[in-house]
Symmetry: C2
Subunit: 148 residues, 2 copies
């Protein structure tokens, strides 16, 4: 699953976020037939945004879609989704959430499962390395991003 | 509570959304000392946005803030918050969510309460009238907005 185009895109997005001086978390929303509907990364720094977490950017960059477009879709994300991003996946009934890692931060995985979404945690080393360095280098920014 | 500046602002925002041809739902985020941090309305139509529900717009228009800014804050919204907006309120630990009505749509109120947020439902007639007319006039747009 680490070779899925959606996951590769999510990691690319995380690295792009880092290169821009932002929070290095990326995501990609992929339809049931494998098409990347949208991809994006955290834009807190770049746009001064309180809501553009990676998964939210991926949803926003997918544009306005009917509910049918999300049927069977997978959200790939480099980090366990926070409450907001969990809720967004629930709103659109994303079927599966593939998570790079949840060691740095554990989000709403239980709620996703309780509501019928599949979750897969890859425990990906590259994702962990990105977050570990970021949390060490920018603890204040990281806290702001998760409301702590 | 229907005379709170935050609620009045939320209703004004909902009407503004309607005037723009959009989904007539508004919200305002108010700090513990009564300052409106940000207000906004649903921007699905106006910006082709999948994530700018009213509460999300209010959070986004509040800008980048430290966690302390949300302490004791109230989110006023004209309609019961969907899963995404519920999650956003949880992320930032909004203390209280004041809801115009939940007859047209019931969102994540139980989750908010389970997680320690106070919820108040006003059962406001103006909010109900706005939604009732909208849901009758634009059922497809409404379904799209709630992922149905």
């Amino acid at each position: 699953m680490e070779q899925d185009p959606g996951f590769i895109a999510a990691v690319e997005e995380a690295k792009q976020g880092l290169a821009e001086g932002g929070v290095p978390i990326g995501a990609a929303l992929v339809s049931k037939d494998g098409k990347i509907l949208g991809r994006g990364h955290n834009m807190r720094v770049q746009k001064g945004s309180a809501i553009l977490h990676a998964e939210m950017s991926a949803l926003e960059n997918s544009g306005r879609l009917p509910a049918s477009a999300y049927e069977g879709a997978t959200m790939y994300t480099t980090l366990s989704p926070c409450d907001m991003c969990t809720g967004a996946c629930l709103l659109y009934k994303v079927k599966r959430v593939v998570i790079g890692e949840n060691k740095s931060f554990m989000g709403g995985e239980d709620l996703l499962k309780n509501r019928g979404a599949e979750t897969v945690v890859l425990d990906n080393q590259e994702c962990k390395d990105l977050m570990e360095k970021f949390m060490k280098d920018s603890p204040q920014l990281w806290n702001e991003d998760i409301g702590v």
